[in-house]
């Protein structure tokens, strides 16, 4: 009975923070779309949040031990799904990322993120040594590399990159020899250089990266997005232009302002003050996740929570960095704020994993 009572216990602080972030997101989605053909988008997003929330509740009830047991099956399933998406998936914006499930186009790679967290948590928690061996690193690289490669083929550089920090955070926590760390970094650099010069990146990906480095070169080309985003952010000033009063947002200068660049829209209308509040909410979310990891009852739980934290931290870093021109345009959404079914549902399912770990923290 005692355990059953505990199982109803959710991390209310975490939930409060996430709901606050969702509210900011809904508000800004409304502001960005209410006077255009996309008006009413906030209600759709609210539906996604509802679905995600339900999914979170379900996942928080499933014993994560059982999930970890099935990690091989899940892994194979995810590779299969990625392959299917590549072959028969629906094409949006020139990339095969979506497969239709129950009438929704689901972005498979979002689900793969979740599965990689589980698979890596299992791998790391099974290690008995204090330091990762080279063989371990190679296996981890393979585990992440295969799905990442498939996602890269869609092509979706952003999501493929999101898988990497899960491995890095896990490796750091599991214990990595600093020489190995340096080696891996060097290897990463080599891969980046070869990837750039070889034919692994699509032209648009290269262009995005190139214009990221020099946005003012082509005001109407690919650098246009970054420049417009910077203009919106910069013109917001400290207090912002006011809710639904941002000219760059309302007149459509901010690219995909309800999704990838929602933070630019918010920065214009709510100013630095609004950005500060929002980023503090994300900081609180991440620190709360670390707190949950610290209180996990075992290493597997900790790796699960920290995998989630790694992905959120990376997405916030890349998305916010992109909005202010510090990162290339990669199409990585801001968790819980950017409009989008798949990413919202993933976010809540990942929270479900965290809640799952939390409810088990006193169980022996």
């Amino acid at each position: 009975m005692r355990e059953r009572e505990r199982s109803f216990e959710l991390d209310w602080w975490l939930l409060f923070i996430v709901m606050a972030i969702c509210s900011v997101g809904l508000m800004e989605i409304y502001s960005a779309t209410h006077n255009g053909p996309l008006h009413g988008m906030q209600w759709k997003q609210l539906v996604w949040i509802g679905i995600g929330f339900a999914g979170m509740l379900v996942l928080s009830r499933i014993d994560y031990g059982g999930l970890l047991d099935q990690s091989l099956l899940l892994y194979l399933l995810s590779l299969g799904a990625l392959a299917v998406a590549l072959v028969v998936g629906n094409k949006h914006f020139g990339a095969r990322r979506w497969i239709a499930i129950w009438g929704f186009d689901l972005q498979v790679s979002e689900l793969v993120k979740l599965i990689i967290i589980i698979v890596l948590a299992r791998y790391f928690s099974e290690l008995r040594t204090e330091r990762l061996t080279l063989a371990d690193l190679f296996k981890i690289g393979l585990l992440v590399g295969v799905p990442a490669g498939l996602i890269l083929l869609q092509p979706d550089l952003g999501t493929a990159m999101v898988l990497v920090p899960v491995a890095i955070a896990g490796a750091f926590l599991a214990g990595i020899d600093w020489k190995h760390a340096v080696g891996v970094l060097a290897l990463g650099a080599v891969v980046a250089v070869v990837g750039w010069n070889g034919h692994f990146l699509k032209p648009y990906q290269k262009q995005r990266l190139a214009t990221f480095l020099n946005p003012e070169n082509s005001p109407r080309g690919a650098g246009y997005q970054i420049l417009q985003s910077e203009i919106a952010v910069g013109s917001g000033g400290f207090w912002g232009t006011g809710f639904s009063k941002g000219s760059q947002n309302q007149l459509g200068f901010v690219p995909v302002r309800y999704s990838d660049f929602i933070l630019a829209a918010l920065a214009e209308e709510q100013g630095f003050f609004g950005v500060l509040i929002t980023l503090l909410l994300y900081l609180a979310l991440l620190l709360r996740l670390v707190d949950n990891a610290q209180k996990a009852k075992d290493r597997a739980g900790m790796f699960l929570v920290m995998g989630v934290a790694a992905i959120f931290a990376f997405q916030v870093l890349v998305n916010a960095g992109m909005v202010i021109g510090y990162m290339p345009v990669t199409g990585i959404p801001l968790p819980f704020m950017s409009y989008g079914g798949s990413s919202t549902i993933f976010g809540f399912l990942a929270l479900g994993l965290v809640m799952n770990v939390r409810t088990k923290r006193f169980v022996n």
Partner: protein, 633 residues
């Protein structure tokens, strides 16, 4: 349960804390990034945001109208649209080029040429793809706002010039400001694409005619569609100018000149007002008001008849026998030779060892100054010139208004030329040949005058030595007056001679015929003919008869009425004609006078009534004159 679940595992708490530090660091870095943009560079980006959303569309101020002396509109404006191509995205333009060229019906070569020429100008400076858009063009631009945002419309006020090249040289034309003008103005007064006066009054009074452009600031969305208007700065229209030109007389002058190469200027000797100024051939200023094509421009410039030349102020030609009037003044005023000087004219004479012929080989017999003017006796004036000498001729010619610009309010007036010993030495590096004085005595040789100089000079002599600055602006002020004292006796003698030219069977007898037909023989029309060879006598002798025929005469008639205290003076130049002045220029001047007096006396002007067949009338004039052609000089 598998072995990887268990409470025995220790968590790496230290590393977790390290991770949370990394997370905090991440957020600090992000906040610094936002701080830099939103606080440090906020002003810069706010400016860029304003530029993004606000587009300034100039509202072109209409130029002032040009009115005749009675306030009748000669030059007006009409609204029209120009299609602009915004050039800030060359890649987009290149992509859209086929659609733009086919949609606006322009050739890709022309557009590419324009883009090439504009490549050094600032990017924000649009090019005008189509200066005057048709309804179809407007519909095309409006319907492609979304996919061709680089196209923009601009309303402009265009110049509407009168038909039939009316007053073309005087009005001039407008055009886009040239790079040189832009540079001179230092970028404050003009911006590229501005329309400015390029020639004629449009240029002379550009400052009055030009208004101040207004500005409409509109908010546009990201695809360039105006969402709403922020504010309008209303344009200040240019001020109109009223001219001294009488449109009726101008029309008569142009009708008379139709088909010829020549010019006509009529002024009021009492105040210098220009009543008519015509030059033919002419051009259609409307060709310039939109955008003159390269071909039209080269055609106008390469035309051997020089239609762009305003002959009334720019044709510098030997005045021929008209100069005898100035010489008569010089003779009477200087007393060399004395007023009662007589010569016997056998039709030739020997001066400085060279035989000189009179225009009339029969000779004029015993001639006094009066008869010499009436019949334009060359031998008489050779003798006068010989006695006066170059210095006196030069002094009086200059004093009476030749060799210097009259100061008429038009750009590009030519100064003409009065030779002197000093001039000869400066230009040719040798002393003045006394023989040259003999040619000069009948207005040949190195002496050039423009029609406006001759009409001002003769009118001033008839006014007793009061030379008004000719001007076209009604309230031109101050009108410069040059006074050169001529004794009343001299004025009477000279004007009496000129009266005789027309009314006593002199070289201007055809003018009398015209006036008599119109029962206007009592207006006391006085004048002087002039016929100048276009090449020298020596040159002429070397040519065959057929070749000689291809060189026409430049013929003049300068006259005024009435004999005392004249109210109207006119100079007529007909170039390259095979008639001499009495046949070619004198009847034109007379018909102009007829129209002037018909109008003054309240009669309908006959020339204007016969509008139906102007070219026919003109050719009849020529034929009639040719039929009764007699050597008149």
């Amino acid at each position: 349960m598998a072995n990887w679940i268990g409470g025995d595992q220790k968590l790496p708490q230290g590393r977790l804390i390290l991770v949370s530090y990394v997370v905090v660091l991440e957020f600090i870095l992000l906040l610094i990034g936002f701080w830099k943009l939103q606080i440090v560079q906020s002003g810069h980006f706010a400016d860029l945001a304003e530029k993004n959303r606000i587009r300034s569309i100039p509202i072109i101020a209409p130029r002032g109208k040009i009115l005749d002396r009675y306030g009748r509109v000669i030059v007006d404006n009409y609204p029209s649209f120009s299609i602009l191509l915004l050039r800030d995205d060359p890649v987009q333009i290149k992509k859209d080029l086929p659609q733009i060229t086919s949609g606006l019906n322009v050739t890709a070569e022309d557009l590419n040429q324009q883009l090439l020429e504009a490549r050094d100008e600032p990017k924000f400076q649009p090019i005008i793809v189509k200066p005057e858009a048709t309804d179809a063009d407007l519909a095309f631009v409006e319907s492609h706002r979304a996919d061709l945002p680089e196209l923009e419309l601009m309303m402009v006020q265009r110049r509407k010039y009168p038909p039939n090249d009316f007053l073309a040289h005087v009005i001039g034309y407008v055009g886009e400001v040239s790079p040189e003008q832009l540079e001179q103005s230092g970028g404050d007064r003009y911006k590229p694409g501005d329309i400015v006066g390029k020639a004629g009054l449009e240029r002379e009074y550009n400052d009055i005619l030009t208004g101040t452009d207004g500005m409409r600031r509109v908010i546009v969305n990201s695809i360039g569609k105006p969402v709403r208007t922020l504010d309008d700065t209303e344009p200040i229209p240019g001020k109109p100018i009223q001219l001294t030109i009488d449109a009726d007389l101008q029309e008569v002058a142009e009708r008379e000149l139709a088909g010829t190469i020549g010019a006509m200027v009529a002024i009021n000797p009492q105040n210098g007002e220009v009543l008519a100024m015509a030059s033919r051939p002419a051009f259609d200023a409307n060709d310039f008001s939109v955008r003159i094509s390269r071909k039209e421009w080269t055609d106008l410039n390469d035309n051997p008849n020089k239609p762009l030349l305003n002959r009334a102020i720019q044709a510098q030609l030997a005045p021929g026998s008209v100069f005898k009037i100035l010489e008569s003044v010089a003779m009477l005023e200087s007393g060399t030779p004395p007023p009662d000087f007589h010569v016997f004219c056998p039709g030739y004479g020997v001066f400085y060892g060279q035989v000189r012929h009179d225009w009339d080989p029969k000779g004029h017999g015993e001639v006094s100054l009066h008869n010499a003017i009436v019949h334009s006796c060359d031998i008489f004036f050779y003798n006068v010139g010989e006695r006066l000498g170059i210095d006196k001729i030069s002094y009086y010619a200059s004093s009476l208004g030749l060799g210097a610009r009259t100061g008429v309010d038009l750009p590009s007036e030519e100064p003409g030329l009065v030779p002197s010993q000093e001039w000869e030495e400066r230009v040719y590096h040798h002393k003045w040949y006394p023989g040259s004085t003999i040619s000069l005595a009948i207005g040949q040789g190195p002496i050039d005058a423009t029609p406006i100089q001759l009409v001002r000079s003769v009118a001033g002599i008839a006014m007793g030595g009061v030379f008004y600055q000719p001007h076209l602006l009604k309230d031109f002020s101050p009108v410069k007056v040059v006074r050169f004292a001529i004794s009343p006796g001299t004025v009477d003698q000279v004007t009496d001679g000129m009266y005789g030219v027309v009314n006593e069977g002199g070289t201007g007898v055809f003018a009398y015929d015209v006036l008599k037909q119109a029962k206007l023989q009592d207006i006391q029309f006085c004048g002087k003919t002039g016929t100048a060879q276009t090449i020298s006598n020596k040159g002429l002798l070397r040519l065959t008869a057929a070749e000689r025929h291809s060189f026409g005469y430049n013929t003049w008639f300068v006259g005024f009425a009435p004999r005392r205290n004249p109210e109207i003076a006119v100079a007529v130049l007909v170039q390259d004609t095979h008639l001499e002045a009495g046949g070619a220029a004198a009847p034109l001047a007379a018909r102009f006078m007829k129209a002037y007096y018909e109008k003054k006396l309240g009669q309908p002007i006959q020339e204007l009534q016969a509008k139906a067949a102007p070219s026919k009338a003109a050719s009849q004039t020529q034929e009639a004159a040719a039929a009764s052609a007699a050597r008149d000089q």
